[in-house]
Amino acid sequence: MRGKGLITAVIILTFAALMTYAVVSLQVFGEGTGVRPLGEFYLKNSYFGDYSARSPEVVTSILWDYRGIDTLFETAVFFLAIIGSLTVFRLTREQEKEVKKVESAPTELTPIVKDVTKVIVVMILAVSASIALHGHLTPGGGFQGGSALAVAPLLIIAAYSKYTLEGHGMDKTRALILRSIGLLGIALVALVPLLSDGFIMQNQPIFPAEIGGQLIGGSLIYYNFFEFLAVGAGFTAVFLLLSIPEEKFKKILGVKK
């Protein structure tokens, strides 16, 4: 134990010394370097100018404009991962019904946890929507908002049960429909510029940068919204699958004890 502590101490001290050296002599955080040429180019083409997204959040702008095809394929990878897990857990229609049936009263957590969950779920929905819909103005965006959104059903599954979530209308089929709507929306928004002689996924000037005086960043807000739906609902579908009790699967597969 003593030797381990010594090694840790040496590592921490070396790191601290290196960082101090870097800050003091190499001026890593030096001042007056200004905006570099590449940064200037991106700022000019995403915030200023007539053909830009007019989005103050340059990162989102770069994600969906300059490397939009890349982001489209990233979304496709996530889509494939969800499809993969759905295929692993695929069930027939009767088995789906069996899985949804409540056999014994499910164990729920204490009233304290349940009541707090009720409040928190509403707050999470609001916060995640704000992360996604402000994605073109502030840090955040569709994927981050969707991941935050997926925490809400997860909390309901943990504090109440999977059956409560399904009883309130959020079952696997609905989640999959929502996710498909999201993916379809992303694909359609990507294809719209082709109709008016633009390139695929082109942002300006096909999509308006402002509506009614509000900055919406051209196509960014649509991408963010649909990505929000796709990611949130995709995660929800997987959580619902993972929360199926093991006994039910054993019953379905005919595993003998």
């Binding site: 946890v113 928190i120 502030t138």
Partner: protein, 118 residues
């Protein structure tokens, strides 16, 4: 420097102290339940309180752009932490007690006395 600045800075310092004592308790306390208490000190005192401090600090800083947005976001995050953390530690303690994973030797057990210890 306004009053808000000093109150906010004070709350952040309190947060740092709570974080320190929480970490110390997490390392030094003898069993699961007391360590859970130390962790909660670290969350409420070390995360929620400084977040309120940041909100006050942002409100007091006239030079800061978008200071109302920063203050609002910090305040909301603080409220969420303040709500979620006690419920979370309650759920942890409840689960550990129910599953009988943690050996406990209570010095005083009023609930057991009332129920008639069995």
């Amino acid at each position: 420097m306004s009053v808000l600045f000093y109150i906010g800075a004070l709350l952040i310092v309190i947060g740092a102290l709570c974080d320190f004592f929480g970490a110390l308790g997490l390392l030094r306390f003898p069993n699961f339940y007391v360590r859970l208490h130390a962790a909660t000190v670290g969350i409420i005192g070390g995360a929620a309180v400084p977040l309120f401090g940041v909100a006050l600090l942002a409100l007091g800083a006239d030079f800061l752009p978008n200071r109302y947005a920063i203050a609002g976001a910090s305040f909301i995050t603080g409220v969420i932490v303040l709500l979620a953390s006690p419920a979370g530690s309650h759920a942890l303690a409840y689960a550990a007690h129910r599953a009988k994973l943690v050996e406990w030797e209570p010095k005083v057990d009023h609930l057991g006395e009332v129920r008639g210890s069995d």
